[in-house]
């Protein structure tokens, strides 16, 4: 994990001049209220936004996805990311086993999952709507690891199940699109989101946007009445100060539009545990921890090179994930328990630097 990007900010403890009260430990659990008043529970303010599933064999990817989701981290995946056979269901999509028999009559529970609803919907199947907690409507393309706005031949083969001797589009990269073909105007996007709520009755429907042309894209996104926003800040190397300013500014923009309640999930790129809690204090409702999960892929790929079969690696993955993530997640829960989201930013965050105070409205401490 890299250095703190928000080292200039400090989570403020309670004032010693206040009347003696016991410290209130806030729960990390959040409830998202959909536009149609359906509630969606989110156990932790952490999610894995863009896992490179294509770098792992499907069976290994499925075990890793389920193991991370088992830590209450919301994991993004399509069915076809995690299986190579449509008759099989990846562990992430199966009901949770071993629930209390006393509650056997209750509806089955599922691991926290978000469904990427990409512009072109390559690889998407109808079952991807089922039991998801978030539908992530991506209104702009993202670069792949090669820097292209495109999908690699291997990715297309995984998604579309094309035979090896008859690759999609002649075996080349398939260009990503810039806007969904069936969304006509910003105003009409509202109808699209209503459609998705009907198709995914258990999920909150979010729109994800990039930080370029932020005000313009934010205005367009909120006009569609999403249940939440995902702000993608991982595509360029933002400095911590810029990142804090953008998140703080976005929250302020939403407040001015009388949308203070709207969940704002942030994809920050490289992030430390303490910075996650500071982002939440700045106004993020959840933070992507892709950079925490990336080392897991490296370790698994390394192990696969030396393993004679998948079986030993499969057995190790849950322990490996728990060992790697548990203490970091616990610290996020701990730090977030001290953040009072009902108080203004100035009472949550302080700084000794004027530029930080100016960028994100933190209290100037000296």
């Amino acid at each position: 994990m890299g250095a703190d990007r928000f080292a200039g900010l400090h989570l403020l403890p309670p004032k010693c001049t206040e009347v003696w009260t016991s410290s209130h430990l806030a729960s990390p659990k959040r409830v998202i209220r959909r536009v149609d008043d359906t509630n969606v529970s989110i156990a932790l303010p952490l999610f894995w936004y863009d896992p490179p599933w294509i770098d792992l064999p499907p069976i290994i990817a499925a075990r890793l996805a389920a193991s991370v989701a088992n830590m209450d981290v919301t994991v993004s995946a399509l069915h076809r990311d995690l299986t190579d056979d449509d008759d099989q269901t990846g562990e992430l999509f199966q009901p949770i086993e071993g629930d209390d028999p006393l509650t056997a009559s209750a509806p089955p529970r599922y691991l926290p999952r978000m469904t990427p609803y990409r512009i072109e919907r390559y690889g998407f199947v109808s079952q991807d709507f089922d039991h998801a907690q978030v539908i992530d409507v991506r209104l702009s393309p993202s670069r792949d690891s090669s820097g292209r706005f495109a999908y690699s031949p291997g990715q297309m083969q995984r998604w579309e199940r094309s035979p090896a001797d008859s690759p999609i589009s002649g075996g080349g990269y398939v260009a990503a699109s810039t806007f969904p073909a069936d969304i006509i105007t910003v105003e009409q996007a509202k109808t699209k989101l209503e459609q998705l709520r009907r198709l995914a009755p258990t999920a909150a429907v979010f729109i994800s946007i990039t930080s370029y042309r932020l005000e313009e894209e934010l205005s367009a996104a909120i006009a569609a009445h999403p249940d939440g926003l995902i702000l993608r800040l991982d595509e360029t190397e933002f400095e911590g100060l810029q990142l804090a300013g953008i998140v703080s500014g976005t929250r302020e923009f939403l407040r001015r539009k009388k949308l203070s309640h709207l969940p704002l999930w942030v994809v920050p790129g490289e992030i430390t545990v303490d910075d996650v809690s500071k982002l939440i204090a700045l106004g993020a409702s959840a933070v992507a921890i892709d950079s925490w999960c990336a080392p897991l892929l490296d370790v698994i790929q390394e192990e696969l090179q030396h393993a004679h079969s998948y079986e030993p690696v499969l057995r190790e993955i849950p322990t490996m994930v728990s060992h790697h993530l548990w203490s970091d997640i616990d610290r996020v829960v701990g730090l977030c328990s001290s953040i009072d989201l009902d108080k203004p930013t100035q009472e949550r965050l302080g700084t000794y630097h004027a530029k930080w105070a100016k960028a994100c409205n933190a209290t100037m401490l000296a």
Binding site: Y122, S126, T191
Partner: protein
Amino acid sequence: MPHVPKPSGPRPPISSVLDSETEIKSDTEAVFDSESRDLLSSEGLRFSMQRLTDAELRTAIHSIPTNDRDEKLARIEIDDATGQHAALMRLDHPIKLRINGSLGDYAFAHHRQVVVKVFGNVGHGVGEGMASGSVRIRGNAGHGAGTAMTGGTLAVYGSAGDRAGAAMRGGGLFVRGNAGNEVGLGAIGGTIVIGGDAGENIGDPLSDVAVFIRGNAASLAEGVTQTKLRKKQEVQLGLLLISAGIRGDASDFQRIIPIAKLDAERSARGEVVPNWR
């Protein structure tokens, strides 16, 4: 008031052999009406979209028993379609539906098995992600018809708007009239047949989709070309036209194909090379 869509595609051509009064009658009304006569038989059920919510309607449709031994599908007639959005999505049941009236955006999205005829228009994104079965629209369709569909048949007997068949992954899209701009944008599989004219930028240079057009395209996308059908494709297209209930001679059509793919075809003496890029 519910939104009743109006596609923005180009106007239907004024003179075409297949658009004579006789042809229109045989091509649309006769095909549709032969089915509707069956629907009025005693075995058909009738529901109203005004009296039932969409969820209730879907439940009612899915609860209709099907008989595996009987080749004839159960028939349902649905009245009071007045432009409802997101109607009758994710149906997955072997039955026939006749919809009287027009539907709004995203009708029949993620559709499977059901054989549908709509006696009216539909809005944007009709048949998005549909995987099997068939949807036939007697009127016009809005933009993005058949977006990301993976199978089945979507036939529009009127005209369709922009981006018809965008990101298609399989199945067949038939537009008897005209289609708007950017037909087949990002499509990676399936078949698109345009009976009339098309707007700007038809085709996709990276696409495996087969695009056939009878009329003229305002312009082709960069990297694609228009060429004659091969004999084998004429036969295939002829069969597709029959299955879509669209009359016409396959030899009247031309195909839109990536230049790289055409070059690969020619250099391989008629055999399509899978890895043509």
